[in-house]
């Protein structure tokens, strides 16, 4: 039984098949990178896993159970957390309140939720910003807040959508360290990322997609040397 399995999922936007028969599996405890050029359907796949969009065809299984067809909040309750590429902080709440609201999912008395929220904030290195209003944070910290909030729901699988985009080299190092730390704490990760440095250093396994279809799967080294992947990124002329 695969920990997480996507089987032949299809999603149309009007007449366009944004995701067209994508299948892949993720083993427990690994980091799976999802790469592909702009508009290839990576975020759409996240939205399908997350239940934000309904599937046209196919099935998504998590821990042996079908999760496609469930509502977004139910999928989160099953243990799949996500972050948004375009960050969605709860703007007029403090960082702590953002995370407490998440922590309430599995921790009922308020004091328990606050405790978990504070631990998660410390784990992600946001302690410094704890009492700041979320909309006042710089972008790197907002991305971090997205992760913190997702972690506070105590997921078994977390979907990270371009959490390293727009960060400077120093922030990038920190982001990589955080992602590894999340993996080491036993959470399986699927990550969408454009920055090759991030994806190559942390992924155990990469799925490359283009035009909504899987064009390559394998270890980072295998995928980057795959002719289809090079063609998708650089065009015909660079074909190896």
């Amino acid at each position: 039984m695969a920990f997480f399995k996507v089987q032949g999922i299809v999603k149309f936007f009007g007449g366009l098949a944004a995701v067209n028969g994508v299948s892949f599996e993720v083993k427990e405890g690994e980091i799976c990178g999802l790469i592909g050029p702009n508009g290839s359907g990576k975020t759409t796949i996240f939205n399908l896993i997350n239940g934000y969009f309904a599937l046209a065809k196919g099935e998504i299984q998590f821990q042996g159970e079908k999760i496609s067809g469930l509502k977004t909040h139910q999928i989160c309750q099953r243990g799949v957390g996500r972050t948004f590429q375009v960050v969605k902080p709860l703007k007029r709440m403090t960082v702590l309140d953002n995370v407490i609201a998440s922590a309430f999912l599995r921790h009922h008395p308020r004091s328990d939720a606050v405790k978990l929220a504070e631990e998660t904030i410390e784990f992600c290195g946001l302690t410094h910003y704890k009492d700041k209003i979320a909309k006042s944070l710089p972008i790197a910290s907002r991305k971090r807040l997205e992760i913190t909030r997702a972690l506070a729901t105590q997921p078994k699988l977390i979907l990270l959508d371009e959490t390293a985009a727009g960060l400077n080299p120093h922030e990038l190092e920190e982001a990589i360290r955080l992602i590894k730390k999340i993996r080491d704490s036993g959470i399986t990760i699927i990550i969408v990322e454009h920055i090759m440095k991030v994806i190559m250093t942390i992924s155990d396994h990469i799925v490359a997609i283009n035009h909504g279809m899987v064009i390559a799967k394998g270890t980072p080294a295998e995928v980057v040397s795959n002719p289809e992947v090079i063609k998708a990124y650089f065009g015909e002329d660079y074909r190896a």
Partner: protein, 335 residues
Amino acid sequence: MKRPSGPFLLLGLLLILPLMLRDAYYQHLMILVLMWVAIGSGWNLISGFTGQVLFGAAAFFGFGAYTAALLSSKLGVSAWWGLPLGGILSVAIAFPFGWICFRLRGPYFALATLALNEIFRHVATIWESLTDGMIGILVMQTFISKLPYYYVALAIAILSIVTVDLVMRSRWGYYFVSIREDQDAAESMGIDTLYYKMLSLCISAFLIGIAGALYTNYMGFIDPKVVFSLHEISIMAILVGIVGGVGTIYGPLVGAFIMVAVQEIFRTGGFGVLHFIGQSTGWPFMSGVIKYVSEAHVLSFGILVIVVILFLPNGIVGDWSLIRKSLFKSKKPAV
């Protein structure tokens, strides 16, 4: 919360106020203020804290009012039973309405609540065999003195504020604000947004419905034009919320006081001051001025809202620190 003694001082003041303020007219105004505190708190919970703008508070208000009135006129039961029952039946309306209409977001939901308001107004007008239509329903008042009504209204106002305060400190409160700030983020945090929006609406409807039943008991007469009125109830509820402070616990209290005061100042021509000027000076145009001023109270609401939105976008309670600062600054040069 910084000064926990504040609310208790206020409560003490409100408890003894009618004993000092013996004039029936001012007692009447205070009863209205307290009723508006309940309506404003209800509106604020769903709109201010949960972010789902309720444009049809009168739907629940009128429903509560008619529940109380019909209990008395059709079933011969005391209209006071309308207080709990009006609240409960308003929830019974809010529940299916929310279940259907919370699929709509933002302004579309607001318009749906407006439609609910209008549906009930028309039903109450047309269904004459039940409601006597535009003739309205007369209910015998229980007390001649205003004092009992005042204390009932005060109890309802306290119930509303305490309810909203308790809810907002709980997990529900965090969820409501999360939904207001970003519904998609809230959903992906595992919050069943439909469920919690309905919960918020039901609590609001309960508080507004009770206020409606209080209105019937106190005024002794209702008709569809008054209790389902768009501008006198639904819009007023929004104004109370906005002026006092959207998403603040004590905002509706301040908003209710100001809005009732503004309404009365215009309606009575500055509490009779204009009338007095007209009489003592004998200026013939004063009667015209009085007429226009009393008709301008709706206009004054509009101007007040514009001023509040421009200068105090978070309302008087929400921007209290700002007000204090500017007052302090303007005083300082004088010192």
